[in-house]
């Protein structure tokens, strides 16, 4: 499989600072998030419903616009509201896997992946991507002929075919049964180890999953960062490297 192994560095590769009002049934709040990811870093984003996770991913992908903010990837500026600079979604080289799959109903699995390719960017061959997600036998099937897990795997393969530098995953495993969930977790881990993307943000409610798949876990609450710490370390151990909200005294309480 052709891939680019991200260089291990502590310099930020993908950084952003975004503000946008959030509307809830219960009232309004302000999304105000500033984060940076290093090359090869996978970040798990946690938070209750309405905390602003999906909004954040949509802002990063350029599907929504913030009221104020900037997004930088390496030397490129994707967004700067001060200078009214905004790189359109199609030029951002960002891959977004939607919670609802968002597969095109008129395309079979092979066609979905072929369509996703960018002519100027190398990506693994279609057969290789289908094999990676275990759908090589179902290449001619349409989304309506696939199960929930198969759809989610196809959505992931399709996103990888577009050669994203940044991968955004919006609760990709939430609708899967435990067995499929484990298989998808293993798949995401393979993608991470193969270095198919430069960095990734994964929205998940499952703490164990976050620890397994990410290097770093960020919890947001009411649109703001509530806790930010490395994954892997026991979340029962104290003290925690909290970056915000000093009232959060234990990882169990924070996460």
């Amino acid at each position: 499989m052709t891939h680019r192994k991200p260089e291990a560095t502590t310099a930020p590769l993908f950084s952003f600072s975004l503000r946008k009002p959030l509307a809830f049934a219960a009232g309004e709040s302000l999304l105000d998030i500033r984060l940076s990811l290093t090359s090869g870093q996978w970040l798990a984003l946690q938070g209750s419903s309405g905390a602003g996770k999906t909004t954040l991913l949509r802002l990063l992908a350029g599907l929504d616009s913030p009221s104020v903010g900037h997004i930088r990837f390496g030397d490129e500026v994707w967004l700067n509201t001060e200078t009214s600079q905004q790189v359109p979604t199609c030029q951002r080289q960002i891959g977004l896997v939607f919670q609802e799959h968002a597969l095109f109903p008129h395309m079979n699995a092979r066609r979905q992946i072929d369509f996703a390719r960018r002519p100027d960017q190398p990506a693994p061959p279609t057969d290789e991507l289908l094999a990676l997600v275990g759908l090589e036998q179902l290449a001619d099937r349409y989304p309506s002929e696939l199960s929930g897990g198969q759809k989610q795997r196809l959505a992931l393969a399709r996103t990888l075919a577009s050669s994203p530098r940044v991968l955004l995953l919006d609760e990709p495993l939430s609708a899967l049964d435990p067995e499929l969930r484990r298989a998808m977790q293993a798949l995401l881990q393979r993608i991470r180890e193969a270095g198919l993307v430069d960095c990734a943000i994964l929205v998940t409610h499952d703490l164990a999953e976050a620890h397994q798949l990410a290097d770093r876990i960020v919890r947001i609450q009411h649109g703001r960062i509530h806790a930010d710490r490395p994954a892997g370390a026991s979340f029962l151990r104290l003290p925690l490297p909290l970056t915000k909200e000093p009232s959060c005294h234990s990882s169990a309480a924070c996460f």
């Binding site: 359109p88 199609c90 030029q91 960002i94 609802e100 597969l103 369509f115 996103t159 577009s162």
Partner: protein, 231 residues
């Protein structure tokens, strides 16, 4: 059956049928282009003039055809506010000509294409276009590869209905075309003329022919609706 064969054997009937086919072909082409463009435009909210365009397109559905035809005759007639500049500047005469027949068929059938296309665009999940955008596709690629294949059934259904309406159109055609024998008499006007002159055999033959064509279109429409999406 014999009256149908007699009809096809007559030179003036063949000329009338050929004229009807030309009008149907030209109006279907126009319906395809304008029905898609107007349907898409009306599905996008929040632009000035949207309500006016919606009313103008829908009007032929609710307005009596004779009244619509008369209104268009007043507007596009030789001394009309749009007819005169069209003739003087571009040399286009919409009244009592082939262009008038096509225009009448176009106006009569347009809402039957626009409304289902508009509805299909409005009901399509926004997330499909967003997913394509996130895959690096341009708006033109999204329209051609994602939106259009997913409204295909609505477009084809609308085109078939508009074609059927165009073939059966009398009121607007009579006003704009003038019912000039050998020049602007289409199949539906031919039935009308045959009944007026007491030639019931010819009226029956043309009616059967139109009935066969429209039934064929209906069968085609049903088959198309069962086919997989895409082109």
């Amino acid at each position: 059956m014999s009256s149908l064969l007699n009809l096809l054997a007559s030179a003036d009937a063949r000329q009338m049928l050929w004229l009807t086919a030309q009008v149907a072909f030209a109006s279907t082409l126009l319906h395809g282009v304008f029905g898609l463009a107007i349907g898409y435009a009306l599905s996008r909210p929040g632009w000035r003039g949207r309500a006016a365009l919606d009313i103008a397109v829908t009007l032929p559905l609710v307005f009596p055809p004779m009244a619509t035809g008369f209104l268009l005759l007043m507007i596009f007639g030789r001394r009309g506010p749009l007819g005169e500049p069209l003739r003087d500047t571009f040399g286009i005469e919409l009244v009592f000509s082939f262009s008038g027949l096509v225009f009448a068929a176009f106006i009569a059938g347009l809402p039957l294409v626009v409304k289902p296309v508009q509805s299909a665009f409005e009901n399509m999940p926004k997330i499909l276009a967003e997913a394509a955008r996130a895959l690096g596709k341009t708006e033109l690629q999204i329209f051609w590869h994602i939106l259009l294949p997913n409204i295909r059934n609505a477009l084809i259904g609308g085109l078939v209905l508009a074609l059927g309406r165009s073939l059966g159109e009398v009121g607007i055609t009579l006003m704009l075309g003038g019912n000039i024998e050998g020049r602007t008499v289409t199949a539906s006007l031919d039935i009308y003329n045959a009944v007026i002159t007491g030639d019931f055999e010819r009226a029956a033959a043309v009616s059967i022919l139109l009935g066969l064509i429209t039934t064929g279109l209906f069968v085609l429409l049903r088959r198309q609706a069962r086919a997989p999406l895409g082109w």
